[in-house]
Structures are given as C-alpha cells and as structure tokens.
C-alpha cells in the first residue's frame, strides 16, 4: 500500500509537470471572443500625466541603436518626472514578434512596442491596439499642423487603419543600391538609373578570370529574403504585390512577370547572386567580391566599420523602369489598448518626444536609420552628419518617390510562397510562367490559413 501511494505520488507529480503546457487554453478562447469587438479608446480621458506612471517599451534595438534610445529615454524621464519608461530589449525582430504574440495570447502585452505594420495589422484587427488619433488631435499635447506636415505622408499612412492612427513612425530606412565606387571608375561604368543600365553594369563589372562559371566578382548581390521585399520591382513594372483592401494577390500578372524576368536575367547570366552564406548582401561588396548590392540604409554603420582598405562604397536610389518607386521600410511604435488611460497618455508624450525633430535627428545621426521628419535636416547635429555622410542625404531626397510595403494579414506568408517559387526560377529549375501560377495558388492558400489563425 505504502509503495502504491509513493508511486502514485511520484508519477502524478511528473504528469502534472509535463501537462502544464495544456493550461490557459480556455482563458485564451474567452479573450478572443472579447477582443473581437472593437475596444479602442474613442475619447481620451487624461490630458496630463498627473501621477507616477510606469510604461514598458518593448524593442529590438541593440548596440548603438539601443544606446541612442536609452539616451533619448533618459532625457525624457528627466523632463517628465512623473513618467518612468522601462525599455526592454527583446532580442531581434523575430524574437520580439514571437514574444508579442505569446503575450497577446496571455493578455500580458506591454504598454507599447516597436513593430512592423504588416505585423501590427493582426493586433489592430483583434482590437488590441490603442487608437492614437485623439492623442494626436489633442490641443495641449497633440501634434500641431506643422508637426503633421513635417512627417512624410507615407510614414504616417503606414500607421493608419480605417482612418485611425494606430502607429507612429520610428526607425525607418530605405532600400538602396550600394556600389563600389572604385570598381565603377576603373571599368568606366556610370551608376545605373534604369533596369537596362543596371543589367549592363552588372555584366560589365562581373569578373570570372578563371572562366569556371563561378565569378570571382559578381555584378550585383541581393538579400536572401528577396521575395519579402520584392515590391519595388513590381511597382516599377507598373504592378504591385497585393491589394490591401481585397487581399487579392498579383503574383501571376504581366507586371510581376516582367519584374521577375528582369531579375532572373541577371541570375541566369551569373552577373547577380543571393547573399547566401554572407548573410547580408553588403558583405561581399565590402570586401571586393561584388560591385553592387541591394540593401537597407540601416546597414550603413556596418559598411563604414567593416569595408576593406582601398574600397569606397557609395549608394544610389534603386534604378527605375516604368516608374521610379523607392521602397522604405522599418518599424513604427504602437500603444496597446490594455494600458491604463494614464499610461496611454504617458506613452503618447514619450512617442512625441522620441520622434520630435531633435530626437529623430539624433537617432538618425547615431544609427543607420533615417529621420522621420523632414525638418531633421536643419538640426545642427544631423546637418553635420549629412555633410560627412552624403549617403544619408539620399533617403531624404527620395521621400517623394517613396512607398511602404502592404500590410495584409498573412501577406508575409503569401510572399514567402512567392519566394519559394522564385528560388526555383533563379536556380533554373522552373519556368517563370509555371512558378508564378503556383505562387499565386500557394500564396492565396497561405494567406487564407494565416488569416484564419
């Protein structure tokens, strides 16, 4: 008998510890039901932070990026004694998004977070995000007309759903064409401005001395996740990736085909390749194994720090085709509806501080990101940086041609399906027509599945 009690006790303890994972399901279902109804604040109640308030800001910034946010945050807390901002680094972007999802399911969301709009869409659809419009429009603590005019429209639009501002632009960057200036000069090649010039430049700058079919120097290198950011080529060909209103995918269209034919031409001619084991497309340009690459301006600090002696790297806007659209990406900051009214007010004031001219200029000066206000150019700190690093000027000059990616729920999943097909095309295993047809079918399926979760 004693033995049986002992055995039962030991095993029950084990079983209980193994099965804890199943807990919490019921609560989650209940929560889902609750969040289906729109719960965003329509009217804000507090216009001032009158009592000690702590807000938590989850971000994915590390190194000099994190140091810059910390400095701005310390300045804010010094000026706003009632507000305590707890910065929490949650690893890389993917770690942050995984943790946000887990926290949303556990009803444990932070006050505010850094997030891509195509990720925020899901939270907005579940009513988990605070509508910042009343805070923006507040006469005492909101944005002025000048503030609104100062922020590029595409950045503000990236945070608007159904006419409500759910997110404010924070760290933005642009997709640019980096090139090895020395190689261009030596080969007598002009920086390409059109697709045709780009193809020709890549061909001229590719070097395969031993003629083994594996060039020692590639004309151009693309990021491994090309499909995620394929939008600029589709737009420049007169098309787009998908319709944000209807969720219709445009993978199997003449415009997409034209864009893929252009990119595939370089891959098949072996004048272009993916970053592969180099991980970042700028790495082979930094050590002379490629003449050009397509990468984000956020890579600039790494390029400045790690480029080999004797190589000068410059950047230009992406060469255009039928249009000259330029892709801007990067995250916004959003406040969750689970925060108290006082926390929301504090978070708004912090966001306003974080993105004011002086601080967006400081953040852009210290990191690879670009300012989210046009007036940052006049800031003395950033003006000096612009003089020293003319590449930074490029992003400001291209604002009027800029656009940001679509934000459909499941859009990323659909683009991943397109990516799988493009890999087959670029490796020469599949024809473009068949691949795009399959990408369309698989992409629609993937999007539907993601939307039903």
């Amino acid at each position: 008998m004693k033995k049986k009690v002992l055995a039962a006790l030991l095993c029950t303890t084990m079983a209980a510890s193994m099965l804890t994972a199943c807990g919490g399901e019921k609560k989650e279902t209940e929560k889902k039901e609750e969040t289906k109804t729109e719960s965003s604040t329509e009217k804000k109640t507090d216009t001032k932070v009158t009592e000690k308030t702590e807000i938590t800001f989850w971000h994915a910034m590390s190194g000099s990026n994190e140091e810059a946010i910390q400095k701005i945050t310390d300045d804010f807390m010094e000026q706003n004694e009632n507000v305590s901002v707890k910065l929490v680094n949650q690893g890389g972007y993917m770690d942050l998004f995984d943790k946000l999802m887990a926290s949303a399911k556990a009803d444990q969301l932070p006050t505010m977070t850094q997030i891509y709009s195509n990720r925020l869409s899901w939270y907005v659809s579940k009513g988990l995000v605070a509508d910042l419009t009343p805070y923006m429009e507040d006469e005492q603590t909101g944005f002025t007309e000048e503030d609104l005019a100062d922020i590029p429209e595409m950045f503000l639009a990236d945070g608007i759903w159904d006419g409500k501002q759910y997110a404010i632009p924070f760290n933005k960057s642009q997709m640019v064409l980096y090139y090895n200036e020395t190689m261009f000069e030596e080969a007598g090649v002009e920086v390409p401005k059109t697709w045709d010039e780009w193809t020709a430049a890549a061909e001229k700058l590719t070097v395969d001395e031993d003629k083994d079919g594996e060039p020692e120097v590639y004309g151009c290198v693309f990021a491994n996740n090309l499909s995620t950011d394929i939008a600029p080529w589709l737009k420049q060909a007169g098309g787009s990736t998908m319709n944000e209103e209807t969720n219709e995918l445009y993978f199997d269209t003449p415009e997409t085909k034209e864009a893929i034919e252009f990119l595939n031409g370089m891959f098949q001619a072996k004048t272009a390749r993916f970053a592969g084991d180099d991980e970042n497309a700028n790495v082979p340009v930094q050590d002379g194994r490629a003449a050009m690459c397509v990468a984000s301006t956020s890579a600039l600090p790494y390029i400045e720090e790690g480029t080999m002696e004797g190589i000068t790297i410059n950047a230009a806007a992406l060469p255009g085709h039928k249009t000259d659209d330029q892709l801007y990406y990067g995250t916004n900051v959003a406040v969750f509806d689970s925060a108290t009214d006082m926390q929301k007010q504090a978070a708004w004031e912090y966001i306003k501080f974080l993105t004011n001219t002086e601080n967006t200029a400081y953040f852009a000066a210290e990191t690879g990101y670009i300012p989210v206000r046009v007036s940052a150019q006049e800031d003395p700190v950033f003006a000096k940086v612009l003089e020293e690093k003319p590449i930074k000027q490029l992003s400001l000059e291209c604002f009027d041609k800029g656009f940001q990616g679509t934000r459909n729920i499941g859009g990323k999943n659909a683009l991943d399906e397109l990516g799988k097909q493009l890999d087959l095309v670029f490796s020469g295993e599949k024809g473009i027509d068949e691949a795009l047809k399959d990408a369309q079918t698989n992409g629609e399926q993937a999007m539907k599945e993601a939307q039903s979760n």
Partner: protein, 275 residues
C-alpha cells in the same frame, strides 16, 4: 610485426591529429576573430592572424552587456535545473522500474508520447500558463519548467531495469526500504547514466536562448545567450565583438571542466556491476 604496430600507432596519431584540427578549427577561428578589427574579420582572402591584437573588443563586449549578472543567472539556473532534473528523474524512473501500480504502463506511454510534441509548439501555451501563475521574469520560470524530462526518465528507467532484480529481492529480504535501496544500491550502480543526464541538461540549459528571452523582461533575470543577441541586428553582425563575448561565455565552462575533468571522467567510467 613490431614495425607494423608502430605504423598503426603513427597512423592513429595522424588521424587523431587531423580530427583534432578539424573540430578545433571553429574554436581557433573564434579566438582569433575576437582579436581582429571589423575590417579584418571579413577580409578576402581570409586573414588568420590579426595584424594588431584588438583587446578593446573585450572591453566593448563588456560595455554592451552586464556580463557578471548574466553569468550568475546562467550558472544559477543551469545548476538548479540540473540538480532538479536529476532528482525528479531518479524518483520517477525508480517508480516506473520497480514499483507496481495501476495503469503504470499506460501512464508511461502517455508521458513518452509527449516527447513527440515539438518544443516550439509548447512555447506559447507554456508562456500563458506561467503568465497566469505570475511567474514571468522570475527564477521560477527559468528553472522549474525544466526540472523534469521524459527523455531522462526513459533513459534511467532502462538503466535501472538492466540491474538484476535479484539485487532488489535480496535487499528487501534484508529489510531494506525502497528509498534506501534506491540511494545506496541503484544510484551508485547508475552513475554513468546519471552523469550523462546531468551533463546533457547542463549544456542544454547553458545554451538555452529562446526560453530565457521569452520568460524574462528585466536585465537582472537574463542569461548569457540572451546577451549574445546584442551584437547582431537585422542589418549586420559585429563578429569581432560577438566572438570576444563568446570567449567570455565559454571560458568559465572550459576552466571548470579543466579543474573537474578527472572527477567527471572518474564518475563516468565507474562501473556499477561486477560479475
């Protein structure tokens, strides 16, 4: 004959030396990279020896991450988890191996079946459970969920069952209690298996990244692998600083191993059974 034996010895040494070189290459690369400048890390053709030894890389690594705190957390959680798991494993494996009770086999099958569920799927439900219990951002979250492992129970149960039942019977005839039999006879006979379980658990826990990141929010609770993420962003990685930090992460474990090597080897090689 003697010449042939010598040849075999020489050949063995050559093969072993080649193997050693092969497995230690990434380690050597890590150590040398930790002393290079950012420009030298990516240089092509690769430059093995740094032109100027950059000791500042270590300084920069320590400036970015609160090493002492993260190190304490890593050691504390890894030791506690290892002790906890060995304890629960010994008790559960004994119950499954020696104590007859109702539905024993069925329960064991259910537990073994949980091994088929990938850990990633359990991440969010586990987070929700711990969150409901208010355990997030505490040592409880870092330690307790990992203090039991079906794989270890399975392994130790098999080991316990390989020991002749006559030991158990003669111990019982001599009036030995269940727990005394377990601690004075079974455990000393199973030291190699227990050592394997403990070493595997310690290494897994020391390297764990996702779980400590998910369940902690404050710097005071984070562990060394989480700290390593500070040197990489989506735009690039500072390999020279990352490698300097990696040395700081693994150095204590290597030093610990060097000092305790003979005990570990002794423990592992100690055989329980004699003819």
């Amino acid at each position: 004959m003697r010449k042939g034996k010598k040849m075999v010895t020489v050949l063995s040494y050559v093969i072993l030396a080649a193997g050693l070189l092969w497995v230690s290459l990434p380690f050597v690369w890590m150590v040398l990279t930790a002393f290079k400048s950012a420009k030298e890390v990516l240089s092509m053709p690769p430059k093995w020896i740094p032109s100027v030894w950059q000791w500042e890389n270590f300084k920069m690594a320590l400036q970015q991450v609160p090493y002492a705190r993260y190190f304490f957390n890593s050691v504390f959680t890894a030791v506690m988890v290892t002790v906890g798991e060995v304890f629960t494993t010994v008790l559960a494996a004994y119950a499954f191996a020696y104590i007859p009770f109702q539905f024993k086999n069925a329960l064991f099958l259910v537990l073994v079946a949980t091994m088929m569920v990938p850990g990633e799927i359990l991440m969010i439900p586990n987070y929700i459970t711990l969150s409901n219990w208010g355990w997030i951002d505490s040592y409880k979250a870092l330690i307790i969920p990992w203090c039991a492992s079906i794989f270890s129970i399975f392994l130790l149960k098999q080991q316990f069952e390989s020991i002749p039942i006559s030991y158990y019977k003669s111990a019982k005839i001599n009036g030995c209690s269940e727990l005394r039999f377990l601690f004075t006879i079974l455990i000393p006979c199973s030291v190699p298996t227990l050592a394997s379980i403990a070493i595997l658990k310690f290494i897994n826990c020391w390297n764990s990244y996702m779980w400590p990141l998910i369940t902690t929010n404050s710097e005071e609770m984070r562990t060394l692998p989480v700290g390593m993420a500070a040197f990489s962003t989506e735009a690039g990685t500072r390999y020279h600083i990352l490698m300097a930090f990696s040395i700081l992460v693994i150095a204590p474990v290597i030093i610990l191993y060097l000092f305790t090597q003979k005990y570990i080897v002794k423990g592992v090689s100690k055989s329980g059974l004699k003819g």
